[in-house]
């Protein structure tokens, strides 16, 4: 009985957010359903923290699905539930004023439930379905802002979501055909056995890359963080990790495959993504965009780790085990930073400053256990120096320097009532404690509860190299902070008066650089209809084609044409037969 109950708990945790979502359909109980929103992640959190490993088969769902609570699912579920607890708490009582609260709530609950399904799915199709549902729910959440930046962000997101879903559909289709099933075990086997790893990895990189903001398919990430409310930003971190990083972790049989060439290509992509995020983050003053840059740099960090594991399969399994904890630690820390972003004055300002610094340090040092894998190698080998982590630390330093500084927060966000400073401080503290616990468990290789013990951790060897890297990351954090503080008198480059106080020559150069970066950062995608329809059906949308198609249609709709055509078919068919 207890086994059945525990299995049911898997289903309950997943379905629970959809209960208040359904209640929102009934006008009379909407206030109750909205009140339940912040508490909806609790069953999932309890499951992640307390329930033992288990699996549940759902043979009638989709084409035969299943849920699983294993080490990976547990960490991602905990991260998702925690971030959604924070987001839900922020969401109720903070929304664009012209939108009925229940519309935002229903989208949030769908995104939340889908996020839990992403974490718990044991097969590719359920995971894919959940990712699609979550993606479109976030599209709706971002567009609730009704501002121009929100519309731009939403437009970019939806184009890329369609692209991502198509690529992932092809990926899962090809893998399922090779594997003869859709469970992650079968799909991983198919990946391990594939004879075209570059193709498979390309589909993965583009498909999952859209969700995590890999360079080239990242266009939605920064505008979304810029336009979204704080609640949506916190929730977006959960989405990025579960719909992006988790895909790689679930599908790549790290440790079983050695793809050095693909790994090298991924290394360069990680480097480019991080470099782009670093440059962009340094030029942006708006905190939402800065958080987006940090998340993009974290993406580079994750990609870097995966690339390393593909090049050195002996480390692959350990890297794969460690990535979820890395995501949890960094995600919780980043969410805490977002809650503290505009709180440099008032009561307990120092305490909040300390919490923010602690969060930044935890994020910056999160990859240390992973760095430990390469500890036996040369200290200065460039590919071991973990440039993405340095970039993350620099950006975190800049973010710390920007806390409390005037930003370009969008008007619909700035003018609204926000949760109390005390409440946000407590929430941020909880997230930082989570991040701290994750860090400690990684460093001391000891899990807080029995159920978490299967999660593999590395025993860190406190070597000179290890300490050097720790110092370099800390130094990068300080450099980023100090550098931003020193230059804070210079207006930020994304403010209208950016040139005041700068020398003419410097201004000209920066203007040129800015123009170039601006073009890179804001590649003008046309409207989504135009992008998809005109871009991909360019021939069809051309005036000549349209005119001809219309002309042909006009001729076709004459009844005489129908008869002539049908007679012609008959004559042709007879002629064909005689000819044969």
């Amino acid at each position: 009985v207890s086994a059945v109950l525990l299995q049911s708990a898997l289903l309950v945790a997943l379905v629970w957010p959809f209960v208040p979502a359904s209640m929102l359909a009934v006008r009379a109980v909407r206030p109750l359903a909205i009140a339940l929103l912040p508490w909806s992640p609790l069953p999932a959190l309890a499951l992640a923290l307390l329930a033992p490993d288990q699996a549940l088969e759902l043979p009638e769902t989709l084409l035969g699905s299943g849920l699983i609570l294993d080490a990976t699912a547990r960490v991602f579920l905990a991260a998702n539930a925690l971030l959604w607890l924070a987001a839900g708490w922020l969401m109720v009582g903070r929304r664009p004023m012209d939108v009925p609260e229940w519309r935002s709530a229903i989208l949030a609950l769908i995104a939340m439930g889908s996020g839990f399904a992403l974490a718990l799915a044991n097969d590719g199709l359920l995971w894919f379905a959940a990712g699609t549902l979550a993606g479109y729910a976030f599209y709706g959440l971002i567009l609730q802002g009704s501002t121009r930046p929100a519309r731009m962000a939403g437009r970019r997101l939806v184009i890329l979501l369609v692209l991502s879903d198509l690529l992932l559909f092809e990926l899962f289709l090809i893998l399922a055909h090779a594997a003869g099933g859709t469970s992650f075990d079968a799909l991983r086997g198919a990946v391990a056995a594939t004879d075209s790893p570059t193709f498979v990895l390309s589909l993965m990189t583009l498909g999952f890359g859209v969700k995590v903001g890999v360079l080239g398919v990242h266009f939605w990430l920064l505008p979304s963080f810029q336009a979204g409310t704080p609640a949506v930003r916190v929730a977006l971190i959960a989405f990025v990790s579960a719909a992006g990083l988790l895909g790689w972790v679930r599908l790549l049989p790290l440790g079983e495959i050695a793809w050095p060439a693909a790994g090298l290509a991924l290394h360069w992509l990680a480097l480019a993504t991080t470099g782009y995020a670093l440059v962009l983050g340094m030029l942006k003053s708006e905190r939402g965009a800065l958080v987006g840059s940090i998340l993009m740099a974290l993406t580079g960090q994750w990609l870097w780790a995966i690339a390393g594991a593909l090049q050195r399969p002996e480390l692959g399994a350990a890297v794969g085990d460690q990535l979820p904890m890395l995501a949890l630690q960094a995600g919780a820390g980043l969410a805490a930073l977002m809650l503290l972003e505009d709180m440099d004055t008032g009561r307990l300002a120092r305490l909040r400053g300390v919490i923010a610094w602690l969060a930044a340090v935890l994020i910056a040092l999160a990859p240390m256990p992973l760095l430990g894998f390469w500890v036996d190698d040369s200290l200065v080998a460039p590919e071991r120096l973990w440039w993405p982590s340095i970039a993350v630390a620099l950006l975190l330093g800049r973010f710390l320097a920007r806390i409390g500084a005037p930003g370009l927060t969008s008007p619909d966000v700035a003018g609204k009532a926000f949760r109390s400073i005390g409440g946000r401080t407590i929430l941020a503290s909880c997230l930082v404690i989570t991040s701290l616990v994750a860090a400690l468990t990684e460093l001391i290789a000891d899990m807080p509860t029995d159920v978490w013990s299967p999660i593999q951790t590395v025993t860190v060897e406190w070597s000179a190299a290890f300490l050097l890297w720790m110092a370099s990351l800390s130094a990068a954090l300080l450099i980023g902070w100090a550098g931003s503080l020193l230059l804070r008198d210079l207006p930020a480059l994304d403010t209208p008066d950016w040139s005041i106080g700068a020398s003419r020559a410097l201004r000209e150069r920066i203007r040129a650089l800015r123009g170039y970066l601006h073009r890179l950062a804001r590649i003008q995608l046309p409207g989504w209809r135009d992008a998809i329809a005109d871009g991909l059906a360019a021939i069809a949308s051309g005036p000549r084609f349209r005119a001809r198609a219309l002309q042909a249609e006009t001729i076709l709709v004459r009844w005489a044409s129908a008869l002539v055509m049908l007679i012609l078919i008959g004559v042709t068919a007879v002629g064909l037969g005689v000819g044969r």
């Binding site: 043979p59 769902t61 989709l62 084409l63 709706g140 209809r529 949308s541 042909a552 076709l556 129908a562």
Partner: protein, 499 residues
């Protein structure tokens, strides 16, 4: 005759008799007409349910009458017939309820519902036909029964659309007749047989068989709206919304697609058709139709025309699944018969609701309509996502099986077609959803009708919600026993693996 032999006849009569009675009713007898309509639809559904259970347990339902020496008129409810029967009887019930609400207070309702019932009678006849002759008989009856529905409004545009519709469908019927007669002279039988009945013919007849195949596909392709025989379908959009729903989801285009399935599987046999070399051209024609229909849909501002071109595209998935000639693709094609029906009928119901409640006929008039009619647009959104192929709505299952089947058959180019089609579907559906949910509504709607606190009449609202829910359930619980997917798998197993 045994009781089991009576059931197919009863299924026919359950709509034929109410239809004939309704013709005789005065316009003012609303309650009696409604009762007859609903009683007929419910009876048919119950009888079909009974046959479904029976066929799953090995029972046979067949009735046969001699038409000419050596030629029978025969009805048989096999697994393939039941797939279409369940769809048509279920959706007929829903469409009847919708039509009652839609036509409330409008003239000529007895005529409308009379032909409506005849149309469904013809459709179930097409579904249960056990041979080509019976099939042709009901196929032509469907043409004649649908024509008055297309021209129901009596406007000049409607009459012209009706003319074009008749020209195409009767011409198609003539081609079919030619093919059927020729086939009979070669084989001496027209009986639908699992794996076909022409493969034993002498190879010297193969060229003639190819020509017959072309005749039959061209004749059926008119109703299935294969390019270039599709032109009647967008024109027929002048018909009232329930008729559009019937044309696109239940009866006409489905009868064409179903006929193609019959011809490929039970006249030629899919393996023999592949040997003849006719499946690849058919697959290419279906793929071209899929892409052309989607491309044309993008540029339509008229909502119903956009949906019509979408039908042109979507129905060809069924034909593509058949033409790929692999067991898995067959499942994808067959299951889309049901899935497309559920999704497309939802879309047409919603389009009807928008037109009847707010006077919205164009996509460009739909800004902010989601706030005014949220339930209608929820149903529309679900169906649109299904058409795009987003999981867990039913359309995803279709595309998944078509893709797997294409890989299985080594026809990788189909994946490109599926991806391009999904992209184009997104291009013509997502802007509608964006406008409806996220744009500001206008201060006034074109022709708003007041329904009090409700967004529209109940009879108009429930049908799309029910069919949208069914589309989600058909995708989310695709592997349940008796689901469309399971039933399609059962049929494919018979076609490919059973001795």
């Amino acid at each position: 005759m045994t009781f089991e032999a009576w059931i197919p006849l009863l299924v026919l009569c359950s709509s034929l008799v109410p239809g004939l009675l309704i013709f005789a009713l005065d316009e003012s007898r609303v309650r009696l007409r409604t009762t007859l309509n609903l009683a007929g639809a419910l009876t048919k559904l119950a009888l079909v349910g009974l046959m479904l259970w029976g066929v799953a347990h090995g029972h046979a339902y067949e009735v046969r009458f001699t038409f000419l020496p050596g030629l029978d008129l025969a009805l048989r409810a096999g697994p393939l017939a039941l797939l279409f029967l369940v769809l048509s009887s279920l959706l007929w019930l829903v469409t009847t309820i919708y039509a009652i609400g839609y036509l409330e207070g409008s003239p000529h309702r007895s005529r409308f519902f009379g032909f409506f019932s005849l149309c469904v009678t013809a459709t179930v006849g097409v579904a249960m036909a056990a041979d080509m002759l019976t099939f042709l008989l009901f196929y032509e009856m469907l043409t004649l029964a649908t024509y008055p529905l297309v021209v129901h409004r009596g406007t000049e545009v409607a009459r012209r659309a009706g003319q074009v519709y008749l020209a195409y469908t009767i011409g198609g019927g003539a081609l079919m007749l030619l093919g059927i007669v020729w086939l009979y002279t070669l084989t001496g039988t027209l009986e639908f047989t699992p794996r076909g009945f022409v493969s034993d013919l002498d190879p010297s007849h193969h060229p003639a068989l190819i020509v017959i195949f072309v005749f039959l596909i061209a004749g059926l392709g008119v109703k299935a709206a294969l390019i270039p025989l599709h032109a009647w379908l967008p024109m027929a959009m002048v018909a009232p919304a329930p008729v559009s729903a019937l044309l696109h989801a239940v009866a006409v285009v489905k009868a064409g697609a179903f006929g193609i399935v019959r011809v490929v599987y039970e006249v030629f046999g899919v393996e023999f058709a592949a040997v003849l070399g006719v499946t690849l051209p058919l697959a290419i024609l279906a793929a071209a139709t899929i892409l052309y229909g989607s491309l044309r849909a993008i540029f339509q501002d008229d909502l119903k025309r956009r949906l019509a071109f979408s039908t042109v595209s979507q129905v060809s998935y069924i034909i593509l699944g058949v033409a790929i000639a692999s067991p898995i693709a067959t499942i994808g094609g067959l299951v889309h018969l049901v899935h497309q029906g559920l999704m497309k009928i939802t879309l047409f119901f919603c389009a009807g609701n928008l037109a009847e409640t707010l006077g919205i006929h164009k996509v460009s008039e739909m800004n902010g309509v989601g706030r005014r009619m949220p339930w209608t647009m929820v149903a529309f959104t679900i169906a649109a996502f299904g058409m795009i192929g987003a999981p867990p709505v039913a359309g995803f299952v279709t595309k998944w099986y078509l893709g797997l089947g294409a890989l299985d058959a080594g026809q990788h180019w189909v994946l490109v077609v599926l991806a391009a089609s999904s992209l184009l579907n997104a291009a013509y559906f997502l802007p509608i959803l964006h406008a409806a949910w996220f744009r500001e509504p206008p201060s006034t709607w074109p022709e708003e009708r007041d329904f009090g606190r409700r967004e529209t009449a109940r009879a108009l609202l429930w049908p799309p919600l029910v069919t949208a829910l069914a589309a989600v359930l058909a995708g989310l619980f695709a592997a349940l026993p008796f689901s469309p997917l399971e039933w399609a798998s059962f049929i494919a197993e018979q076609e490919f693996t059973r001795p």
